[in-house]
Amino acid sequence: MKYEMVIGLEIHAELNTRTKIFCSCSTQFGAEPNTHVCPICLAMPGTLPVLNRQAVEKCVTAGLALGCDIAPEAHMDRKNYFYPDLPKAYQISQLFRPLCTGGTLEFEYEDESGQARIGRVRINRIHLEEDAGKSIHDLYGASTLLDFNRGGVPLIEIVTEPDIRSPEEAGAFVDRLRSILRYAGVSDCQMQEGSLRADINLSIRPAGSDTLGTRTEMKNLNSIRAIVRAAQAEFLRQTEVLEDGGVIVQETRRWDDAKGRSLRMRTKEEANDYRYFPDPDLLPIRVDGDWLRAIRDALPELPGSKRRRYVADYGLPEYDAGILTSDPAISAFFEDAVACGGDAKAVSNFIMGDMMRIVRERELDFAALPFSPADLATLVNRVAEGVVSISVAKGAVLNQMFEAGERPDAVIERMGLRQVSDEDTLRAIARDVIRDNPGVAQEYRDGKTKVLGFLMGQVMKKSRGKAQPAAASQLLKEELEK
């Protein structure tokens, strides 16, 4: 039998507030254990939570960015369960009256066979809650260590409807969602640091059926690639279970990305009796009128409209526009470089090619490069003016800008990288090359003109990339044909 998969996602994004959701502890990632804790987030008796205004605003911002309805009145609820990383023995979350409901995300993606498709996924809700602490099991055999720095960091949970039908669609959804949350300025969405986490709810059913099968929940997916692989693996696992005459058990599974398979964590019936009730420590949240308008007015331009604008205003290809707008730091760098006088397509080529590669290799951040967008604009202009060749610009000059933050003009002068178009100099180089490669030169003269490329390469090499290619090529031909 042919099966289809039905996927819904639950995505947790840590909000990038300075302080925690209910207390004034820092939310900074990577601090020494338990240095960002206080009696409130450690759940000492007698303490009371006070909600962070910006956490509410960021949740609402995310909702507006995804086209959700904002509840005029929302409440915080308690979700009760025992686990050592949850010191209150309940998580403050929202069940009954979340801040945001409804909404849709549309995005382009490539399916398994590489065909372009449009995904359309409905958002069920976005609610505000607190993160748990971190348990460390591995180092000490007999005990579990607890670090509560993360406990109380504000989270939004974004719950989709089960609208996703393939691993590729799931991956593309998360990718686009991440981009939107970054643009909206609500979360850093660093999957490897756990500030964006996705759980997959997946079930299968005979293709064409419209009833839902029993679903499993998959946790521990900390990259888009892991999401795609885990969905593929779970689809195969469930298919095998059914084809062997078995039944799918509703359970939570943990993805092991290194091994490429998942293991059962717990069966759902035991775990999900959370006995939610409204938290009496927290008063209702009313986001209405002026407050909602102010949040809406502060919403920045989102990637979809930015992409359309790049095509319309800068005349960029869709492909460039898609890549440049995938990350707000990249698009900001691009826009600033263009504003400083760089040609849009040339700036785009620099960013999409060598800059993104170097940033990735050196694990840098576009928001904190050692040189400015104005420097990139200068470099692009020097190429256009013929001062440096494109290869020298993308090689030595760009490299030195990354290495030392040196201004492009300074690099060009100090390293003597100005393009050479002086006829005497170029002719001398051409003669040297012909003298050093008599065999190849003879081949050219015998009519095998495609060896010109090799000889030009030698000219460029000898001039350390500085020869102005058109002039050099012309002189080389002249010398060969003498």
């Binding site: 820092s26 338990n34 960002h36 206080c38 205004r53 009496p280 209702p284």
Partner: protein, 95 residues
């Protein structure tokens, strides 16, 4: 609505409460009375009564996301029966 001893046992487990077998009957009876008390509300016609969201007639009690405040770790850990490497420790929990 009746309450069964099994329901009481389940609730006790969820709340991590230990109930002796000889307490179960009395506990079940008490629970039943509590539920009966709450059930009296359902007998009332509340269709015209707006739900009371909170006992206090206030909303939006919020604080600004200002400069973080530090709290000394030694003090945070001082009440813990055991701490290792700046972490609270508990008997090993297996996922």
């Amino acid at each position: 609505m009746s309450v069964t001893p099994e329901q009481v046992k389940k609730l006790a487990h969820l709340a991590r409460l230990e109930i002796r077998d000889d307490e179960l009957a009395a506990m079940t009876r008490d629970m039943e009375q509590l539920v009966a008390l709450a059930d009296r509300l359902t007998a009332l016609d509340l269709s015209q009564t707006p739900p009371m969201d909170h006992v206090l007639p206030r909303a939006n009690v919020l604080r600004d996301d200002a400069e973080p405040v530090e709290f000394p770790r030694e003090q945070a850990l001082s009440g813990a029966p055991e701490a290792v490497d700046g972490c609270f420790t508990v008997p090993r929990v297996v996922e």
